[in-house]
């Protein structure tokens, strides 16, 4: 039986962690993720978990501690945001290439500068090539549900990759919403125990982790790692199917919202999708064939599936909530355009960078995007490809 509660995204993640009771939590605080270890410290103090709670001196150290713990054969977790995630950069790559299934909660926040504590995806998008699986949630419920699925995906023998559970800083991390929690025992049963085949402290065969890989081995190691990310696609869907069977809520690579006959569409991520859905509802009431796709799994990127879902769309706006400074579009645009490259009748596409550093995204703003798409579909001209929205202009 589900339990009705009202929690912030951070408390929802901390609750999921408490229910899973990982062996190690190495923490270092940074806004807006700080509440996650803060709540967890209380669970430790109250004796509700038996996790080794390690307070370290930096994010580089917190992820390093998780790496050591996972190599030793136990479950390790941490949480961070923004500059903290950037400071983990080096270790992210080591964890992924060593194939250690650490679960990292990220309350996504802008990167400096100017220095800013509010939401966008500058931090997580900067780590999109680190080898971590990345799963994004629209609201507290999705973030909690994603977290319950995280360990099983990351630890699967065909995958064995670390994983980020991403929530929108402040918007999701701090806003309190209704949520359905699952029973502690049901969660434990769903997630299961962690029994890696090989680990440092296994006395039968002591393990060496992270050896030097000269040119004669590096290429093979990277191809094997790329294959693990491909394998993750099936495992993500399998775990989602079991999650639906167990708890009743359905998840996939992305959510298709009113896409059946949609001609004007957005590809968007996170909490902004909730706002854009209100715009879609309004347009549908007026008879406009509008829809949207909300990306849940960004790594591995579901390119084939996305291209299939975009079939029949005439004009598409890709909504990038981070600036890649490529001068030709943000990271979500690059992935989406790449996914559609071999589609026979692919939609006309534009990229819209929006909402940086917590800049508000409103239903009116979403409606203006569909207005632009209407014009693109009518004229057959995409116009300017790489654009920004919501900034003051002369």
């Amino acid at each position: 039986m589900s339990i009705r509660e009202r929690l912030s995204g951070n408390e929802a993640i901390a609750t999921a962690m408490r229910q899973i009771n990982p062996d190690v939590f190495a923490m270092f605080p940074i806004t807006p993720s700080t509440e996650i270890p803060q709540y967890y410290a209380q669970y430790v103090a109250d004796g509700r978990v038996d996790t080794e709670f390690i307070t370290v001196e930096s994010e580089h150290s917190s992820l390093s501690a998780c790496l050591g713990a996972e190599a030793a054969g136990v479950r390790a977790v941490t949480a961070t945001s923004s500059a903290g995630l950037s400071f983990m950069n080096e270790v992210l790559y080591v964890a992924a290439s060593s194939r250690l299934p650490i679960v990292l909660a990220v309350a996504c926040r802008a990167l400096t500068g100017p220095i800013n504590i509010n939401h966008d995806y500058s931090d997580s998008m900067a780590e999109r090539d680190s080898g971590f699986i990345q799963i994004y949630g629209e609201n507290n419920q999705e973030v909690y549900d994603n977290y319950l699925q995280a360990h099983r995906i990351a630890e699967h023998p065909d995958v064995r990759l670390p994983l980020m559970i991403c929530e929108d800083g402040f918007i999701t991390s701090h806003a309190i919403e209704n949520i359905e929690l699952e029973d502690d025992e049901a969660v434990k049963k769903f997630v299961g125990g962690y029994h890696p085949e090989n680990y440092l402290l296994k006395k039968e065969n002591p393990l060496a982790v992270g050896p030097y890989g000269v040119s004669n081995y590096y290429m093979e190691a990277r191809v094997a790692q790329a294959q693990a990310m491909k394998n993750a696609k099936k495992v993500i869907l399998d775990v989602a199917a079991d999650f639906e069977k167990t708890f009743g809520r359905k998840y996939g690579f992305f959510e298709e919202y009113k896409m059946e006959d949609a001609e004007l569409a957005m590809v968007i991520m996170g909490s902004s999708a909730g706002t854009a859905k209100a715009a879609v509802d309004k347009l549908r009431a007026e008879g406009v064939k509008a829809g949207l796709i909300k990306i849940r799994v960004f790594r591995p990127f579901p390119g084939e599936e996305l291209a299939k879902a975009l079939k029949g769309v005439k004009a598409l706006a890709v909504m990038d909530k981070s600036e890649g400074f490529s001068a030709c579009g943000g990271p979500l645009f690059a992935e989406t355009a790449g996914a559609c490259i071999n589609m026979p009748d692919r939609p006309l596409m534009v990229d819209i960078v929006f909402g940086l550093g917590g800049r508000d995204f409103t239903v009116e703003a979403a409606l203006s995007v569909y207005d632009r798409l209407k014009n693109i579909a009518a004229t057959g001209e995409a116009g300017e490809l790489y654009t920004h929205m919501g900034q003051r202009e002369r």
């Binding site: 060593s98 060496a208 093979e220 094997a224």
Partner: protein, 99 residues
């Protein structure tokens, strides 16, 4: 389970161990790192008093000691750092003249 000796430059990516893990200890013996050496120390047996001071100074355990006496260098692993030359009180280790 793949042993370290079975990991070589002919195996396909599909046969690599997960994360390049190695499932046994002491595998440095299998890897001939002596080829990194640019200069080579030479043991002058007639000058050697078998004080064995050189062996603990060697950072790469490349001076084998058996029954309390040193033997010739393990050139498969000696990097040619020359620390042993400095450590020897009897000038019994010298740089080999390179051709």
């Amino acid at each position: 389970m793949l042993t370290a000796a079975e990991i070589n430059e002919k195996i396909a990516w599909q046969d690599m161990t997960t994360g390049c893990e190695i499932y046994e200890p002491g595998t440095s013996r299998l890897t001939k790192t002596g080829e990194w050496r640019s200069r080579t120390p030479q043991w002058l047996q007639d000058k050697c008093k078998q004080c064995v001071l050189c062996a603990p100074f060697c950072p790469d355990a490349s001076i084998p000691v058996k029954d309390g006496k040193r033997e010739d260098f393990d050139y498969d692993h000696c990097k040619g750092c020359g620390i042993c030359i400095n450590a020897c009180p009897f000038d019994a280790i010298v740089w080999k003249e390179e051709a």
